[in-house]
C-alpha cells in the first residue's frame, strides 16, 4: 500500500500515541497506537493508522480503537488491531476484525532436551520434520475427515482429535479456551469451506506459517519461566498455523453474506471492508457461530501438527514420550473475536473483542489462566521472524485496563514479498541462516526469500514496547535452530 498516514499523532507517553477522533468524521473514539519513537516512524509508512481511525467509526466501539506495535496494513482492520464493541449499545462484529485466517495462532512445546542433545542430530531432525509435517502450497494432510467428522471437530475443538490419538488431555488444558469456543455452529459452514478443509487439518500452510525448533536463549524472569517449565538451553518447538482453507473460505463467505448488512442497519462505514453486523442480530450471530467453528478447526489443526512434531522427535532421537517430555506450554489465537467480560466505566459488560494480529494476554489471577500459571499470568507467545528471536511473555494487569486483555502477536511486515525477494536476489537466505546456526527447509521457490528477517520489524522492539507499556512482560527469549516453512 503506497499511501502513508497524513494525520496527526499525539504522543501519550513513551509507548503510546493517540489519533484524536477529530482526525476523521465518524470516529466515535480516539485511536491508540502502541509504539516507541523508532517503530512509529515505520508505522507511518503505510496506511494502517488510517485503518485504526476507520475502526474507530464502528458502532458500539468501546474506549479506543487500538493498535499494537506490530501493526501493518490489512483489510478493513489493520493487522495488529484490537477493537471491543458493546452489543448492548448496538456494537458490531466484523469479519475483517478477525481476518481470513480465523484463529491463526501459535503454540509452544517444551522438551526435556537441551541444545547439546539436539545439535548433533539437528539436520536429521529438520529433515524428519520436513517430511512428516505437510507444508506448502497444494500439500494435503495424511489425516482426512469426512463432512460429518469435520462438523464434529468444529463443535468439539481440539479435544476431538486428542481423543482420537493426536495428543494428550494435558494439551487441551494448555490451550486458550481449552481448544474450543462454545456455541460454534458447524451447520453455518458452507460445503465449499468443508471441501477446502477436508484434507488440510494437520497441515502447516505456507507464507509466514512455520514450525521451528528453538532454544531458550535467555530467561528474563526466573520465577515466571519456572512456572511455565522453561529454562535456558532448553529445546522447544513453536508452531504457527491457522484454520487453513476452511477458515479462509468462512471469512470470504461471510464477507459476501454481510455485504448489504450495514445498509440494512443504517451503519455508515468509511471503508466497505469493515462490513459488519450488530452482534445482537441474526447476521451477527451467524458469523459468530461460523467463526467459532472455524476457530475450533484451527485448534484441531495445530493439535495434529503437535502430534506429528512429537513423532519426529521420537523417531530421530529414539526416545519415548516420557523421556522427551514434550509438553504443551500454551496455545494462543491471534486472529479471533471473543465475548469477554470487562468493566466499562464501573459497569460490568460483556464485550465483543476483535483481535486481528493480536494475542490475548490475561494477567495473574485471571480465572481463565490455567491454574498452574495463574500466579504469573497467561503465556503470550510471540513469534519473531525466522532469523531472529521469538518470545514468551506473560499477561500483565495493564492489558485489562488498557487493551481489553490484549498484546502484540509478532513482528509485523515492513517489506512487501516482492521487495523481500528483490532484496534477497543473489543471496542465499538458507546459507545466511545456516551461518547463524539455523537449519531451514522450505517448500516452494520463494519461501525463505519472502520471509527473510529483513522483511519484518525487529521483534525485540515490538516486545520492548508491550513490556514497557505494562500489558505483557518478557519471560524468555527463544532463538530458532531449525525452521520448516511451506
Amino acid at each position: 500500500m503506497d499511501k502513508k498516514f497524513e494525520g496527526k499523532l499525539e504522543r501519550i507517553d513513551a509507548c503510546r500515541w493517540r489519533i484524536p477522533k477529530s482526525h476523521k468524521q465518524g470516529m466515535r473514539v480516539d485511536g491508540v497506537v502502541y509504539a516507541d519513537d523508532r517503530l512509529v516512524k515505520l508505522i507511518r509508512n503505510d496506511y494502517s493508522l488510517e485503518q485504526v481511525a476507520n475502526v474507530a467509526c464502528l458502532p458500539g466501539i468501546v474506549s479506543h480503537s487500538l493498535a499494537m506495535p506490530d501493526i501493518h496494513f490489512g483489510y478493513g482492520f489493520c493487522i495488529g488491531g484490537v477493537a471491543a464493541t458493546n452489543p448492548d449499545e448496538g456494537g458490531v462484529i466484523s469479519p475483517g476484525g478477525v481476518g481470513y485466517d480465523i484463529n491463526c495462532g501459535v503454540r509452544l512445546l517444551r522438551s526435556d532436551l537441551c541444545e547439546a542433545d539436539v545439535q548433533p542430530r539437528l539436520t536429521d531432525l529438520v529433515n524428519s520434520l520436513f517430511i512428516s509435517v505437510p507444508a506448502g502450497v497444494g500439500q494435503r494432510g495424511d489425516v482426512k475427515f469426512d463432512a460429518h467428522e469435520l462438523r464434529q471437530l468444529m463443535k468439539s475443538g481440539s479435544r476431538y482429535v486428542v481423543e482420537r490419538g493426536f495428543g494428550l488431555a494435558a494439551d487441551v488444558e494448555a490451550t486458550e479456551a481449552h481448544g474450543c469456543l462454545p456455541d460454534a455452529d458447524p451447520d453455518l459452514i458452507s460445503d465449499r469451506a468443508l471441501q477446502r478443509g477436508a484434507e488440510q487439518c494437520g497441515t502447516l500452510g505456507s507464507g509466514n506459517h512455520f514450525l521451528e525448533v528453538q532454544v531458550v536463549d535467555h530467561v528474563f524472569d526466573g520465577p515466571a519461566a519456572a512456572a511455565l517449565g522453561l529454562r535456558e538451553q532448553q529445546v522447544c518447538v513453536m508452531i504457527h498455523s491457522g484454520s487453513r482453507g476452511l477458515g479462509y473460505q468462512v471469512c470470504d463467505d461471510y464477507l459476501k453474506e454481510l455485504r448489504d448488512t450495514p445498509r440494512k442497519f443504517g451503519i455508515d462505514l468509511p471503508d466497505r471492508q469493515l462490513v459488519c453486523a450488530p452482534v445482537d442480530s441474526d447476521e451477527g450471530r451467524r458469523y459468530l457461530g461460523a467463526m467459532r467453528a472455524a476457530a475450533n478447526y484451527a485448534w484441531c489443526n495445530r493439535q495434529i501438527l503437535t502430534h506429528l512434531a512429537r513423532k519426529s522427535f521420537e523417531s530421530v532421537f529414539g526416545l519415548r514420550p516420557p523421556q522427551l517430555g514434550m509438553a504443551l506450554v500454551y496455545d494462543v489465537a491471534h486472529n479471533i473475536a471473543k465475548m469477554e467480560p470487562y468493566d466499562v466505566l464501573g459497569k460490568a459488560c460483556t464485550l465483543c473483542v476483535h483481535r486481528k494480529g493480536a494475542t490475548r494476554a490475561f494477567p495473574p489471577g485471571h480465572p481463565e489462566v490455567p491454574a498452574r500459571y495463574r500466579s504469573v499470568g497467561q503465556p503470550v507467545l510471540i513469534p519473531g521472524d525466522m532469523g531472529r528471536a521469538s518470545y514468551v511473555l506473560v499477561g500483565q494487569p495493564g492489558s485489562m485496563t488498557d487493551t481489553f486483555g490484549s498484546s502484540c502477536h509478532g513482528a509485523g511486515r515492513v517489506m512487501s514479498r516482492t521487495a523481500s525477494i528483490r532484496d534477497a536476489a543473489g543471496r542465499s537466505i538458507r546459507q545466511e541462516l545456516l551461518d547463524k546456526g539455523i537449519v531451514a527447509r522450505a517448500r516452494g521457490r520463494r519461501g525463505l526469500d519472502e520471509e527473510q528477517p529483513a522483511a519484518y520489524k525487529d521483534v525485540n522492539d515490538v516486545v520492548h514496547v508491550v513490556d514497557a507499556a505494562g500489558i505483557s512482560k518478557r519471560v524468555a527469549r527463544l532463538r530458532p535452530i531449525g525452521v520448516i516453512k511451506g
Binding site: 500500500m1 502450497v137 465449499r192 482453507g245 479462509y248 517448500r443 521457490r445
Partner: protein, 146 residues
C-alpha cells in the same frame, strides 16, 4: 512480470502489496479482463503445468455486481485448484454482463510433478475491488491474500 496475448489486448501484472500480492489486470473487453485475471491468478500461485484438458465444463455464476462476479469467478478457480487439482482455461463466454457469467472452460488436471507452486492464495479479496472502464479498456487491481 506481465503477459500480453497476441490475439487480444489483455494482460496482467503482479505487484507489491505489503503482506500480499496485487494482481493488476487489463483487457479491451470484459471477457478479456476475466481471461487475464484467470491467467494472473494462476501466475500468482506459481508455474502451473497441466495435462491435456480432460473435459469442458460449464461455469454459471450470478453475482451482485461485476466486481463480485469477477471475485466469484476467481474464487471458483481457486477452489477447484485447491480441492481438485484442476486448472481451468480456454474460456468461452456465452454471456458475460454486469451480474451474470455463463461460460464453458477446458478443465485440466495439474501436473504436480512439473508444476512449481510458489504461493498459497488464501483468498481473492474485495479490497478496493473496482473495475475501471474507459473506452476500449477495462482495468482492475485484485488483492490476493497469501
Amino acid at each position: 512480470m506481465y503477459r500480453l496475448m497476441p490475439s487480444d489486448a489483455f494482460g496482467f501484472e503482479l505487484r507489491d502489496h505489503t503482506a500480499d500480492i496485487a494482481l493488476f489486470v487489463w483487457g479491451d473487453r470484459l471477457e478479456a479482463l476475466f481471461r487475464a485475471a484467470a491467467d494472473g491468478l494462476y501466475a500468482a500461485i506459481g508455474e502451473i503445468h497441466a495435462h491435456s484438458p480432460c473435459a469442458r465444463e460449464r461455469l454459471d455464476i450470478h453475482a451482485h455486481d461485476t466486481e463480485s462476479l469477477l471475485h466469484d469467478f476467481l474464487d471458483e478457480l481457486l477452489f477447484r485448484f485447491e480441492t481438485r487439482g484442476q486448472r481451468l482455461g480456454d474460456f468461452t463466454f456465452d454471456r458475460l454482463d454486469d451480474t451474470l457469467l455463463m461460460a464453458t472452460a477446458a478443465v485440466s488436471v495439474v501436473d504436480a510433478t512439473t508444476s512449481i507452486l510458489d504461493r498459497e492464495v488464501k483468498a481473492v479479496t474485495y479490497h478496493d475491488l473496482n473495475i475501471v472502464r474507459t473506452p476500449g479498456r477495462y482495468e482492475v487491481t485484485i488483492i490476493l491474500d497469501i
